[in-house]
């Protein structure tokens, strides 16, 4: 039997039982589509998170006060105070390192912002002009905090888009005065809309000069220092420099934690990849069920087509050829089902993209390969028993009995 004959034979069978073929295609299609869509969701979430981290800036290191002896705790949750503060002077000393391009000290806190009679509680961020370059922020109107000695402060502030509209309504906010706590600030800039970024909404913050924030919250202690290394290769040296410089300033005590953006990114990447793989695997269980269905239908087909198989054998077809015929049929069904599934999965992905344009839904390449491959492999595996049963039929008995 030639390959074309094999294919033709299988095609005749597949066409001959349309209802049956349709149902098997449906079962396989559901399985493949489920795997594709679920992994697309997972991959979309992963890419979304990575993008969010990427938008924080490049080659970023975060210096935070305090250090934990026990491993395991996420460094990000290390909140709270330390007896020896991380100060502005510590941050300024970082200028000595050759691996560091720029840095921005950060103080954060909750403040009640008054403008006229309107009051709104927002996060208040104290920082320097460098913050804009490090975080890749954009100013829509006016300008960002002025350059200059961070120890001195001018009574100016930059507000998020939402804060501006909430406090001033349709009035232009630029040049207006607002009051935070017991200090007054003039609005010199309005941030471009950036939206939510890892739970922190830049549309809803007020940025003031560092010295002003120090006075406002009555604290010397910095919350974080954001450091940008000169290049990707320099990140390691920058980390070492930061640790060493601050250790020397803190009387030889290592009491800061330096985390690199890459480390955080890698952790998230790993977790989300594992999750995607897990849900993809769960969805793939349905492919096994579809495989069971194929086996069942093939077994019935062997019984129904006894005479046909008997005739083939009587005409000289070997057991191997009969087996091949069944495998070809199963593979045709599986490939057809996989194709249907891929198309449906793609449609579902498109729909999801339309609904949530912010998240880049995209099935990972391994899922696009693995889902059809799994479909074909399960189909072949589950056809082994029926195919062997068919191949072993005795032609005389198969033809004689009705």
């Amino acid at each position: 039997m030639r390959l074309t004959d094999l294919l033709d034979f299988a095609w005749q069978v597949v066409r001959g039982y349309r209802g049956r073929t349709f149902l098997i295609l449906l079962a396989m299609g559901i399985g493949v589509a489920a795997v594709v869509m679920v992994t697309a969701l997972g991959e979309g979430a992963r890419l979304y998170v990575l993008n969010q981290f990427g938008s924080l800036g490049t080659n970023l290191l975060i210096v935070l006060p305090g250090r934990s002896e026990t491993a395991g705790a996420m460094p990000g949750v290390l909140v709270g105070k330390t007896p020896r503060d991380l100060t502005l002077e510590d941050a300024l000393a970082l200028k000595r390192s050759h691996a560091i391009r720029r840095f921005a000290p950060l103080i954060i806190g909750a403040g009640d912002v008054h403008a006229g009679t309107r009051v709104r509680e927002t996060p208040v961020l104290g920082s320097t002009a460098e913050l804009m370059a490090i975080r890749g922020m954009e100013v829509a109107l006016g300008r960002f905090l002025p350059e200059g000695d961070p120890r001195q402060s001018q009574p100016v502030c930059v507000v998020g888009a939402k804060v501006a509209s909430e406090l001033f309504g349709a009035r232009p906010a630029l040049g207006e005065w607002l009051r935070i706590g017991d200090r007054r600030f003039r609005v010199i800039g309005i941030m471009a809309k950036q939206g939510e970024s890892l739970g922190f909404n830049t549309d809803e913050i007020v940025i003031v000069p560092l010295a002003a924030a120090q006075a406002l919250f009555n604290t010397e202690a910095l919350f974080r220092v954001l450091v940008e290394a000169k290049s990707r290769e320099q990140i390691y040296y920058a980390k070492q420099d930061v640790e060493e410089i601050i250790r020397l300033r803190h009387e030889g005590e290592r009491d800061v934690t330096v985390i690199t953006q890459d480390a955080v990114l890698a952790t998230f990447d790993r977790i989300l990849r594992a999750l995607t793989l897990a849900v993809g695997g769960i969805a793939a269980i349905s492919l096994a069920v579809a495989g069971i269905l194929i086996m069942n239908v093939m077994l019935i087909a062997v019984t129904q087509r006894r005479r046909e198989i008997g005739l083939l054998k009587a005409l000289g077809a070997t057991g191997r050829q009969i087996r091949l015929a069944f495998f070809t049929e199963a593979m045709l069904l599986a490939i057809g089902g996989a194709a249907v599934g891929l198309v449906v999965g793609e449609l579902g992905r498109n729909l999801a993209t339309q609904l949530y344009p912010a998240i880049p839904f995209q099935a990972p390449w391994w899922a696009l390969v693995a889902a059809p491959a799994t479909a074909v492999i399960t189909a072949v595996l589950f056809t082994v028993v029926p195919a062997r049963r068919a191949a072993r039929l005795d032609p005389v008995q198969a033809l004689s009995r009705r």
């Binding site: 679920v38 250090r67 105070k81 020896r84 919250f217 005590e253 077994l299």
Partner: protein, 399 residues
């Protein structure tokens, strides 16, 4: 047709094709097993998280400065222009139904003892902290009851800190240095282990006023308030708000009852469990397609039999019921098998990985079985109707 006949007939047709029945039921069984296993893990996780939280008691309310929440924590805990003071905490003791009100400030400090040094999580707390969070003292006592505004330099160690510094020796009465100041050890806490990433044994507790001084800060991070468990939560919350608003002139703080947090966690975890179970349930749908396929084939095979039945007086309705019954029975068998399979795997998982919380509630088992039967019935409708609509004459002639 009598019920007994009906059952015998269905049973007979399932028995005559044993392999077919087995495979069809297997399809459903795999689906149900997946759903049961996944929901068991989800439910186990849910219980685990709830247990982690409720070990501190359920009747706690946390009051934090500021009203903005990011990452689930109050930003006011970091810095705020509207501080919460120790006096606020003392004032909350007078709120209705309140049992204990305890100020908290948390930080990270270096602890030294005879040349050994260790960075630990430092908690500045009031004398009622242990009672509020249901934590037990293993040796000695907790910080004594005294005016929290002018407390003595006493410290209570977490079990890990005590072990690292003193080994098997008795730490009581020893003097340690925390952030450059000298403290006398008066107690050691019982081990609590890690709770959601925080190691509660790598901690030192000192009086709150001293911690505020050490950290050079004026605001507490939060105030833990416990209330009479039988009291209505709304009134407790209102009482707390009334007192603090009277003291501050505005609502510049956040009141979070533990129960609300538990509810939030509960909904999130339930949603995840549901989503994962739904993904697992896709295989159930595929199993349903399997039943549909097999029944359609069966109807085609048994056309003459159906014709005979109709000829001897079986109504369309009874033929319909016959095939629906077969579908439901197939699904029910598969469902039961899947239930046992999923349950067995869950038990094995529990034995193999004791750390992984697994729990299968009875309600889920019943629900899964019902879902299986429903899937079977839904899959049976089409073939059963096809069988019922067969023309008896045509059907008989097909022989």
């Amino acid at each position: 047709m009598q019920l007994a006949d009906f059952i015998r007939f269905t049973y007979g047709s399932l028995r005559s094709h044993r392999l077919r029945t087995f495979l069809t039921a297997l399809g459903i069984a795999v689906g149900i097993a997946a759903v049961i296993l996944l929901t068991s893990i989800g439910e186990g996780l849910h219980r685990f998280v709830i247990a982690e939280f409720t070990q501190f008691g359920t009747n706690i309310i946390s009051v934090a400065p500021g009203r903005i929440q990011t990452h689930g924590a109050s930003l006011g805990g970091v810095n705020t222009v509207r501080p919460l003071s120790i006096e606020d905490a003392l004032a909350l003791k007078r709120a209705p139904y309140v049992q204990v009100s305890d100020p908290v400030v948390q930080g990270n400090a270096d602890v030294k003892y005879f040349g050994k040094s260790r960075r630990v999580t430092l908690y500045g707390v009031g004398p009622d902290f242990a009672e509020a969070l249901k934590m037990r003292v293993a040796v000695g006592e907790f910080l004594p009851q005294e005016d929290p505004r002018s407390a003595r330099a006493l410290a209570v160690l977490g079990s890990k800190v005590a072990r690292e510094f003193f080994g098997g020796d008795n730490p009581l009465g020893s003097r340690i240095r925390i952030g450059g100041e000298r403290y006398r050890v008066v107690g050691v806490m019982q081990s609590k282990g890690q709770v959601l990433g925080f190691d509660l044994d790598d901690t030192v507790f000192i009086p709150v006023a001293r911690a505020l001084e050490m950290f050079n800060r004026e605001s507490l991070m939060e105030i833990h308030v416990t209330y009479d468990p039988t009291a209505p939560l709304v009134e407790v919350e209102q009482g707390i708000k009334r007192i603090l608003i009277a003291r501050h002139g505005a609502e510049d703080f956040t009141v979070t009852p533990q129960q609300k947090m538990l509810e939030v966690f509960g909904t999130v975890l339930d949603a995840i469990t549901f989503a994962v179970a739904a993904i697992g349930g896709i295989s159930l749908i595929v199993g349903g397609v399997g039943i549909l396929t097999i029944l359609i084939i069966a109807v085609a095979e048994r056309t003459s039999e159906i014709g005979l039945l109709r000829a001897v007086g079986a109504t369309q309705r009874s033929i319909l019921m016959l095939f629906l019954g077969e579908a439901a029975l197939l699904a029910a068998i598969g469902g039961t098998a899947g239930l046992l399979l999923g349950w067995a795997i869950a038990l094995l998982l529990q034995l193999a990985l004791p750390a992984l919380p697994v729990h299968t509630p009875w309600s889920y088992a019943v629900l899964a079985e019902l879902v299986a039967v429903a899937v079977g019935l839904a899959a049976g409708v089409l073939p059963a109707r096809r069988a019922a609509r067969l023309d008896p004459l045509e059907a008989l002639r097909s022989e």
